[in-house]
Amino acid sequence: MRPILMKGHERPLTFLKYNRDGDLLFSCAKDHTPTVWFADNGERLGTYRGHNGAVWCCDVSRDSVRLITGSADQTVKLWNVKTGAQLYTFNFGSPARSVDFSVGDKLAVITTDPFMELTSAIHVKRIARDPTEQTEESVLVIKGPQGRINRAVWGPLNRTIISAGEDAVIRIWDSETGKLLMESDKDSGHKKTITSLSKSADGSHFLTGSLDKSAQLWDARTLTRIKTYVTERPVNAVAMSPLLDHVVLGGGQDASAVTTTDHRAGKFEAKFYDKILQEEIGGVKGHFGPLNALAFNPDGKSFSSGGEDGYVRLHHFDPDYFNIKI
């Protein structure tokens, strides 16, 4: 396949997200401006100007009208996807790390980093239909986990919130009361910081990637570990194909951390694994630095990867991808 290279960001990529229809791709990077691209040919549509710090995460509403972004400048902003205008700004006391719209887009879960005296926290905010009615107040604030929470998402039917972070423990919280319902087992779970979390298309299971060079598949209701995928590199980003039973892991130690030099450039790859057999199917090379973001198009026929090199690579699969057999 011929990947489309998009170099709109000057700094490393942090997050990629497709909209529900799969025609727009939103990219966040450390360079303060989230960008939206057309997902078929990679043409840039626009940028959202306003943040003053690295943008860590974003999410788009199901109708592709609203965009929410979380940034290191301690704000979370709501944008009009079409015009790029800022609709609302939520202020926090520390950098915002992860944002996620609920099913129905009426609520959003936001995590903030530990900063000075503040511990990390999970905030739930109500999102009004009409941006003029938007208020700052939180529906729920959960404090508790030690260390940074790298990702928090809504569980099935918005009944729970699933969080994962630096302490390598996955926690499931009740979204109405804020009570801790379940915690992943310290021995069977990850051993190092969980860097990424990705839900399946139907929300019944999710995949976590960690710096301990593995990724694990969990049931979203019972928090039992279903599968484990082992790689040779720390995992920074994970994604699940909505169409086939494939799991993609991206990561890689930064070149400066490795002592031996390799003459091949562009060798950081996204590794494909069979979801059920846990075996490696193959790798897609090309990035010049570790991969930080991965996202599958909801139709499953293309995927994109963002790296430390500032490039977004959009891949449309060849027909034989769909015929791969182990």
């Binding site: 709109g8 193959g282 897609v284």
Partner: protein, 290 residues
Amino acid sequence: MAIDKNEPSKLRWGELEEDDDLDFLLPPKEVTGPDENGIKKVIEYKFNEEGNKVKITTTTRVRKLAKARLSKRALERRNWEKFGDAVREDVGSRLTMVSTEEILLERPRAPGTKQEEMKVAGDSLAQLSKGGAVLMVCRTCGKKGDHWTSKCPYKDLAAPVETFVEKPATSEASAAAPGAGKGAYVPPSMRAGAERTTGSDMRRRNDENSVRVTNLSEDTREPDLHELFRPFGAVTRVYVAMDQKTGTSRGFGFVNFVNREDAQRAINKLNGYGYDNLILRVEWATPRTN
């Protein structure tokens, strides 16, 4: 004062005698749509910083990447106006590019097997490896599975490097004493005891061992020719003529051997050889010299 307008015999766009007040007009943009190879030409005219008329010709290859079956809302979004930093984006911006390399989903290999061996297994080795026979590799000619090094029919290939080094001894060029007296700088290639001949001498000799191969199939590339001619001897250079527009071979190529005898043997054996459903024609590249 009326300007006399003659009918120009050849219209040169830069010298068109327009009326003075129409000087700010530029010829319209021309688009020659994608032809059967997908080549699209866009000719635009602009004024550059010095106020001169500039013609910009952009030649692109239009390639259908993916079928985008867009929903109604997605189609509406396609027509949205650009905002933010993308507002002043022109066609020539290089933000989005299709990769020049073909990137594949590389299947993992079992440790110990090499990629070439998997490929070669397809042809002559298939029956051998199936029978459980050991892979025989001859160090001299590099041909796999036929014979051991000691039984190599191309034994004279044994030390192509040494035979090459012997030849310079007969050349006079390097033995020439440096000019301009004793204290002058002598480049290493011209010092006494210099190993190689003058470069052009070597290259000329190599081009005399050049073999032209015609009636190649469309998919034939340099590695294929190299693989085909390698058993006859050391090959210094392979070249396959390519059509830039379609990316296929134009049906002919050249192979340069180190030794003339290898080239002669290759011609004898491969002329008329069936390769990829076509009969090859293999001959000397230049009129045969003695």
